[in-house]
Symmetry: C2
Subunit: 255 residues, 2 copies
DNA sequence: TCTTATTATGTTGTGCACAACATCATGCGA
DNA sequence: TCGCATGATGTTGTGCACAACATAATAAGA
């Protein structure tokens, strides 16, 4: 499935299962495999992962603590919906934290790290040609994780990660609404490509503060575009808020 | 609006119990009622709160996600120990976030808010006379919550709260080691008293950025004092070798 | 006496059955 | 046909018994 599970050998007992299920569900939520507002059944998840409801509930509690889920007694476990206006505060904070990543406890840049940035950059270039929103989100996610490694400040990493996973869904949601606007999507790809290139260059020069500033600017501009697209989308792009599917559809996991 | 932490004393069904147990345990951890490194038995907690282990484990999972506990299979649920060096990163981050609280999404200051600051200030003044470390921590905690209300940025509040609860224990741990140094403790009280006074004044003037800067400076200086006191304590746990208060400048008495 | 294998004890993790709760469907009366 | 009470259905929350696991105590052997 994803290389994250391979990169994280979770082979050991209970803790390994927990991490595997947790990251799997989190990825699915952020890739909109589970649509915002959709319901998750604990028993289905339990069956899928070959365990009982109990360990699944552990994961759900953690995901709920991070604001990605919300369990309601007698109703179900629903994926939190994402609203551009509410996420404005999260973006406001992410902008500042991005700069802090280049500022607090910077790591020493070695050749291996530069290689990883160049690798992402190469894959990003290929992705632009293909132009798949889902693949874009995946590379975006990997690049984010790579970017956070620029600081040795572990709490800053963890918090940035949490906020990232709260906001990253909005882009894919936007993209799914903008079907037919290939030029806009392509524009997003190219902008991200430039961001990766700029930050990679900054890392090559060992200027982590510059990397932080670039990232900060891109996050701010990205949200600006999302907000504009959101306003346009609500006014014109989508005729009505789909009355047929009240968001309770279940997407079987994509292979 | 928000159904979260502070403003909810009573409990409806399941959610109420959860919040009550969660906040109770969190407070106990941060007030060192549960010493760092000590083991918590799920069954004891279950008996105390009149429930089964299941809902208790929910709370423990959340507290573990926040870094206050660590459950190990077959061993126990142990309260995370706190190390000054590890907490340096958290403090580094808290310093920045304190400034952001006065900068991002500032609220409009009304008379009721000023009154709450003045109330805390009055209680702080009385606390200084009494001089109980535990009461100091409690007022410090309340003042922190009040300070976070200066921003309308909910994620920033939540994150600041989380980091605060990760670091606040270190002061009490320090204080418990410094038994016999009443002058040093009193010094801490007076410094906090000044911080409360300064921030209250800034709020009265509606200058939230000033409040943020004051808070930032105090957090940084507080950690500096803690680190120096920690180093002194580890080098010579016995009172004899104290290098003439090189770190803890400023004598009480001028308050 | 020391080392090592084995047992004993205690803790968290898991599975399952049931209770609490919310929602939807049904049926009755007007 | 509409309004409303009542049951049916489905979900999460809880309690309890047991498994998995780690450590301490114990005993055997050299």
């Amino acid at each position: 499935m994803s290389e994250d599970s391979a990169a994280r050998p979770a082979g050991k007992g209970a803790r390994g299962r927990f991490e595997r299920i947790y990251q799997t569900l989190r990825t699915r939520i952020c890739l909109l495999d589970y649509a915002p507002g959709s319901r998750l059944r604990e028993e289905d998840l339990a069956d899928e992962f070959g365990v009982s409801r109990t360990p699944v509930r552990r994961v759900l509690v953690k995901l709920e603590a991070e604001g990605l889920l919300r369990s309601v007694h007698g109703v179900g476990t629903i994926v939190t919906d994402i609203d551009v206006n509410e996420l404005a505060q999260v973006y406001e904070l992410r902008v500042e934290l991005a700069e802090l990543i280049g500022k607090l406890s910077p790591i020493v840049v070695d050749e291996a790290l530069v290689a990883r940035f160049r690798d992402i950059k190469a894959r990003c270039d290929r992705m632009v040609a293909a132009g798949d929103p889902r693949e874009f989100s995946q590379i975006n996610m990997e690049f984010f994780h790579l970017f956070t490694t620029l600081t040795a400040n572990e709490p800053l990493r963890a918090i940035s990660e949490r906020l990232y996973y709260q906001t990253t869904r909005i882009w894919l949601k936007m993209a799914s609404r903008l079907k037919g606007y290939e030029t806009l999507l392509y524009n997003e790809f190219v902008i991200f490509q430039r961001e990766v290139a700029d930050i990679t260059e900054a890392v090559e020069h060992g200027d982590l503060m510059a990397a932080g500033h670039v990232r900060r600017a891109h996050i701010a501009m990205s949200f600006s575009r999302i907000r504009q697209a959101s306003g346009a989308g609500e006014n014109a792009a989508v005729p009505k808020a789909d009355p047929s599917g009240r968001g309770l559809r279940r997407n079987p996991g994509a292979g």
